[in-house]
Amino acid sequence: MPSSVDMKAREQALNVFWSRFKLLIESILRGEEPTLEIPKRTLSNTIYDEARKLLLLGPQKLTRKLFDAHEARKFMQTILMAKIIYEALLNNEYPTIRDLYYRGKHTIVFRDHKGRIKEENTWDEQKESDSVIRDLEVFLGVLREEMLILSKEKGKVVGNMRIRSGDDIIDLSKMGHGAYAIEPTPDLIEFIDVDAEYVLVIEKDAVFQQLHRIGFWKKHRAILITSAGQPDRATRRFVRRLNEELKLPVYILTDADPYGWYIYSVFKIGSITLSYESERLATPTARFIGVSMTDIYGDSEKKKKPYLTDRERRHYIIKAKPADIKRAKELMNYKWFQTKQWIKEINIFLNKKSKLEIEALASKGLRFLSDKYIPEKIETKDWIE
């Protein structure tokens, strides 16, 4: 028996689909060319709202026509995907994006203009069907979680808190050596009680496990979360809710390299590909706690000493690759990285051409990481906004 929150979400989604596609059907019956107007999901249509510090979708729209040689296939894919999702909603199903890919993937056998028999798949890779799902999200203004589409769980959480998921109550302090996998529909989670002072989000799953096993969250009264690399939407939404509803400060710990920095910025202000969801997913007050370039090299301006000795630096530092340098230069072009602190970080990186993984700090000693580095950084407010 589906939970009542589910049923309500389902009904809302069905209504949006039905009324929106009714407009398309009516225009076709009037003899108009089948046309869909969809907000553009491109970098040029991504706007950085400086006041709210969020990446938002701009006003540009694309017109997708069935009888346009460049758009015909995409149009077909959009209708096909809408049909499959609508059917799933009607049948009380919870498809994953992988399911949707398989349900819609079939072969059209046709005769081409020269009479030759050819075959075309409705879509070949999941990348294509995923892209159409995103188009439908922005076209309908309904997120895929609200369409009850599931995705692989990636984020994990432990800490001293209890939540209700479905009809069960789960104690996140009693997960043993494991952790609670953040469900794909975090909006359907209810927070019951929590005893924590802050949220620590760690890029690397392995470091998350190490800190969990030595009881970091108990000792420091933290909610410990890992995104295991690039954060999925559920993890971002979960972090956002902890911050917004429970007023917990959020600290983010990543590798000291451009990819780590971008993960931080995705948590904080949103991503370019999913800018239409930033309003619900981003945590604008999230802080980058490290590992920063000044943690490695020190900061003479602020009289800050490095956390690593010369010898440790020689051991732990990795030479930056050309791709890292290129990515760093790209980040410098993004408005949200054009702050004094970030410019300093990126310049040190470009200057030293070196990067560092969080694991390096753990190698220096897990205790160093858990009892010195993290607490001291928070204590001294040595973070980047």
Partner: protein
């Protein structure tokens, strides 16, 4: 040249220089023999209003390197009294004449007979019956090389039972079928290409059998004999004309022996050239004739040469021939208006075949013809090759590789051959210009065709693209029309299909779209 003639008979001279006439080796000799006899056969038929029916047999003799070539035509036949000279005497010719024919005074056939006589020792056998004759005549002849006289070995005649007329010539020569085979087959094919009004049957020694049927009941306009034009004669020609004229003064000689010279112009010319109009032409000495020839060439008030002696194939027949032999999807043929080089009238014809069964090639396939004779050898040194290989095909919508074949026919009272082999045409600016203009003319029509085809193809390409998705869209919208409360469909996919077809029909104006088309384009959804 005249010195050589003093010590050698013409027959001996030609025999000693047989490679000039194309008899340099057994393979080439076999090819050349077939060619000479076939061309004589065509000249005996179409020029006289007869649809040619030509049978060609090449048989291997008991000596495996000897072959007998027999060519039979349904032409006008040869009066029996002329047969010995016509086949047994080199440079035999009843009168001086000027018109376009394939062979020149049947010289080539006599070379074949001479060559056969030397290599196999066998005589030529001729069976002929003129148009209105009641009898059939048979001759076996050889040529007395030293004396340039025919030797009749055997001669007979019998009454005709059926209404047959024509000539059958059999020559035995030393040949090389395996090396000549592909050229001979290609030669027959190229003859058939420009003679769609002829039936041609070929049988070779190894069961090679070709049969080209007549596909059109139309003959090219036959050439008319005309007088020579003053720009086109040389010293030898004028000497011969003077020798054979009966006119007693220069003014009559000029007006009666040449085309394009009226009385007033003749008087004006003779005055300017400094000749007495009343002078007997036979009294001119060699130096005076030289002066006369030069003055004739430089005087610019004669009328241009007439094109009457020319017999172009005609654009219609070229197009039919190309279609029949090459099976292209598009063909265009052009016959240019007559033009003149060095006093000789000429006409350029061009045919272009594109697509269909024409093979994809990096350079156009070239079919060269001179006075309706296919030219197979020395292609790359021919001015026609130079022209088509440097022609800007791209401008006419062709990007190689492309399925393109080009036929070029030059007809003239004098073809400017390059060298003595008579297999390639020399660079003559006037001819080059005409060929280029003809190619441009044909090219423009080809371009229009290609553009129209591409446009239509593009429309069909789009059509198949759009139509291929219609079933998918219609099914999708049918599901999306289910009312979430009542769970009932509010629309059927058939209605959507009909509506989408009518919208698409309005958009793509020049194609007719029906519901059937969807089933034709969308084979299955799997």
């Amino acid at each position: 040249m005249s010195e050589v003639f003093k010590s050698l008979s013409p027959a001996e001279f030609f025999y000693r220089n047989r490679e000039i006439a194309g008899f340099s080796n057994p393979a080439r000799a076999l090819y050349q023999t077939v060619r000479e006899l076939v061309e004589n056969a065509l000249d005996a038929t179409e020029v006289h209003g007869i649809f040619p029916l030509i049978r060609v047999y090449v048989e291997r003799d008991s000596n495996p390197s000897h072959f007998t070539i027999t060519v039979e035509d349904n032409g006008i036949g040869i009066p029996p009294q002329y047969v010995p000279q016509a086949f047994g005497q080199v440079l035999f010719s009843s009168k001086y004449r000027l018109r376009q024919t394939r062979g020149m005074f049947g010289l080539g056939a006599k070379m074949a007979i001479l060559y056969g006589q030397i290599t196999t020792g066998k005589p030529v056998e001729v069976i002929t019956s003129p148009l209105n004759s009641k009898r059939i005549y048979m001759f076996k002849l050889m040529i007395d090389i030293k004396r340039n006289k025919p030797i009749v070995l055997e001669k007979s005649s019998w009454p005709k039972k059926k209404n047959w007329h024509g000539t059958i010539v059999s020559v035995s020569i030393e040949g090389d079928w395996s090396r000549a085979k592909s050229r001979i087959i290609e030669y027959i094919r190229r003859v058939a290409l420009i003679t769609p009004y002829a039936e041609i049957i070929f049988q070779g020694p190894d069961n090679t059998y070709l049969h080209y049927t007549r596909v059109v009941a139309k003959l090219p306009k036959p050439p008319k004999e005309v007088l020579p034009h003053p720009y086109g004669v040389d010293l030898e020609a004028v000497k011969m004309m003077i020798a054979s004229t009966n006119e007693k003064n220069l003014i009559d000689f000029l007006t009666k022996s040449f085309q394009g010279i009226g009385r007033i112009i003749a008087e004006k010319f003779l005055k300017e050239a400094g000749f007495d109009p009343d002078r007997d032409p036979k009294s001119l000495n060699i130096d005076e004739i030289k002066v006369l020839v030069n003055k004739l060439k430089s005087f610019n008030e004669f009328k241009p040469p007439r094109a009457d002696p020319l017999s172009p194939i005609g654009a219609e027949l070229i197009a039919i021939g190309l279609k029949q032999i090459l099976k292209p999807e598009f063909v265009v043929a052009i016959t240019r208006r007559p033009a003149v080089y060095e006093g000789h009238p000429f006409i350029v014809e061009v045919g272009v075949a594109y697509g269909g069964s024409v093979p994809q090639v990096q350079e156009p396939i070239l079919y060269r013809y001179a006075n309706k004779i296919p030219l197979l050898y020395d292609e790359k040194s021919d001015v026609l090759w130079k022209i088509i290989s440097t022609f800007d095909w791209h401008q006419y919508g062709i990007t190689f590789p492309a399925p393109l074949a080009v036929l070029i026919h030059i007809c003239s009272t004098k073809i400017p051959y390059k060298g003595v082999g008579k297999e390639s045409i020399a660079d003559v600016p006037e001819i080059e210009r005409e060929v280029k203009n003809a190619l441009r003319e044909a090219g423009r029509k080809l371009r229009t065709y290609i553009q129209r085809k591409r446009k239509l193809e593009e429309t069909y390409r789009k059509l198949t693209l759009f139509v291929r998705y219609i079933p998918e869209i219609a099914q999708g919208l049918e599901v999306l029309s289910i009312n979430p409360k009542s769970k009932k469909k509010e629309l059927s996919s058939d209605v959507i299909v009909d509506k989408l077809i009518s919208i698409l029909s309005n958009k793509l104006e020049n194609v007719n779209i029906t519901k059937d088309l969807i089933n034709k384009i969308v084979v299955a959804i799997e």
